[in-house]
Amino acid sequence: MNSREQGHLSDAVLLRYADGELPAGEAKRVRTHLASCWRCSTELAEIQQTIQKYVRYQEAVRQGHLPEPPAPWFDIYRKFGQIDEASPGPAWWRRLGGGLRALAGGPRRWVPATAVLAATLLVVNQLGNAPSVKAAELLRKAAAAEQAQPPGRRHIEFRTASATLTRVVGAQGSADWEAEAALATLRPLFEQAHYDWRDPLSAVSFARWRNSLAEKRDEVMTVRDRFVPGRKCYRIRTTTNSSVLVEAILNLTVAELRPVEGTMRFRDNQWVQMRELAAAEIPAPVAELPRRPAAPATVKPATTGEPASREIIEPATPAEELMVLAVLHELGADLGEPVEVSREGDRIAVSGYGVSPEIAARIQQQLAGVPGVVVRLGDAPAGTLDAGTSAGREAAVEVNPLQEAIVERLGGPTAFEQFSEGLLGINEELMARAYALHRLAQHFPPGKEAQLAPEDRRLLAKLRRDHAVPLAGLAAALEEQVRPALEGLGPAPGAAAGLPAASWQEATEVLVNTARRTDYLTAVLLGGAAPEKGVEETAAEALTATAQLRLQAAEYLRYAVE
């Protein structure tokens, strides 16, 4: 077997191999591959080294660093005797004490409200140490920042029940008329709600609407940004009965208080989701509108601080773009690192703030100096708000009834903590994989993919596979975590829909949308987002969505080959 043909082994496979957890056939395949592949055998050696270090560490910790048992161990035969003396059955059973009865699965304890509240606060903390600044205060600061420095031209993606569109806002008078027309049905609703239609993803617009409400309820919490790994946002949610716009959610970045995502829900259940597109996403054609030609790159190449361009730079080809993505993948910079790849005129820009120093150095090393590639990596902009100083205890953190039901179902706050930790971890990585696939689909729509040479198409398929395989495992793990917590709380979940698609790009779009839905529902389960519906419906929906994601992720594997 040739390692070039087969691609390299993932760390998941290598670790399972090292742990003797692979089925015999697969282990044999791995062994053969390792014999011919230096890279993978080195990788395996490093994994084994890490395991050795862990073992040495545990041994060192145990030798003299852990407290000895405070008392001599009991005489276990005497205890056996005591157990035997008591007649078998309930009498000795009772003697064993409540702890052991609990182990045997006694009736679930009633969970006091304070415990539930503690669990909720804990979840919020896990989502990012809730600074819990009041909505009004945050909006005031965000609006002031926005007015002092208008955000300029931004591409905002609008998603409604029937369409996804990109609209340019902030430019003088410029508007994407196609988008305007498609969104026209929503416009009267915005106007009726006195919510500025021209720039809805704005702290100023949100604050104006909110201030106009006779009656309202706010929630503020800190959440992870769903689209930019590593970024945290304040999530402000305002609900009201005194407007046709009954619920509005705005996510402001913690660092700059910039609005990057929002959701509006109107009284007749119409809704629109908005988010600011990252530079890398702008030139990509919108998948739901295949008739629309790919927008030409309009962003001018930035020239400040870069070496003067050599002679004439040939426009970067799709193959070169793929090469850049493949290098980032090799470096592990396509998962959870805020690295963006975008077209700037004829060149490919690799940019990002707050990329981990080690990765940044390796990107520089690999890509800086490559003709047609510009690398711009910097430190994260300094925060404008000291999250630590805000009065955390004032936050009105609501215990949502669904969460309460889950805490009770799982048997208490500690079990819930464990559940939420597991779920968050799985979800985070799952979303990173989903976005990595999304990025590939956006960089390589079918037309562009067709321009690639066969070996490049194979490379692209390998990149897909590298994300699709773990994603399928993660989706299965997510469902397994969610199911026991929710089953029976609501009506039987609906049937999971598969993944009908004409191309892998289309399949990716469907898959990513399902992942976004489970991402939101995960946040609801853990108290990080407000449920849209009641306990039963949300539980059933979460079960359906996770089952659907599992099914789709498994089906997606067939698109992950060339």
């Binding site: 060192a60 702890g99 182990l103 930790e421 773990p470």
Partner: protein, 174 residues
């Protein structure tokens, strides 16, 4: 049947549990410490786990893999104890300082101690689930057994293990 112990006849089940108690009680105690129990609680809980095993076996219930069973019960019981107690202290908040102190590990060189402290920090940075998976794997449990102990599937254990090793590699990078 059974061996004579201090003039009393013991049963094979008792001998089997006593053997496991000898072999595993320190590991179980250690595991319970890492769950956040204090030493007296951890010791008491460790002892109860083995009594529970005795009671189960005595009822003729089958325990296919006693090692996995013991850690599963220890895990669940440890969490219950932890939930019951209001103010739990980490068993040794100064572990890092003690690892770094030369008098406690005289056989290590300064460089090795440095590495150990760095590794300790990396381990502390793992999620609780990841730490548990690693710990139980070190106790010789296979993924399905770890899964059984923690109430998750073997594939989820694999995922936690992979992420734990990847993080340790990254965070303790030399």
């Amino acid at each position: 049947m059974g061996a004579l112990r201090l003039g009393r006849r013991t049963t094979p089940v008792q001998d089997r549990v006593a053997e496991l108690f000898e072999e595993l009680r320190e590991d179980v105690y250690h595991y319970l410490l890492t769950l956040g129990l204090n030493p007296p609680q951890a010791q008491e809980a460790a002892q109860e786990v083995f009594l529970r095993l005795y009671v189960t076996l005595r009822r003729n219930e089958t325990v296919e893999n006693p090692r996995a069973w013991i850690f599963r019960v220890a895990h669940n019981y440890g969490l219950k104890v932890r939930a019951r107690e209001k103010a739990l202290q980490p068993f040794d908040p100064d572990l890092e300082a003690r690892l770094a102190a030369s008098d406690l590990s005289p056989e290590m060189s300064a460089v090795e101690r440095d590495r150990m402290v760095r590794f300790h920090r990396a381990v502390e940075n793992l999620s609780e689930q990841q730490r548990r998976c690693l710990f139980l794997r070190m106790q010789g449990l296979r993924y399905p057994e770890i899964g059984e102990a923690l109430g998750i599937s073997a594939s989820t254990v694999g995922e936690f293990m992979r992420r734990a090793i990847a993080r340790l590699r990254r965070l303790s990078g030399e």
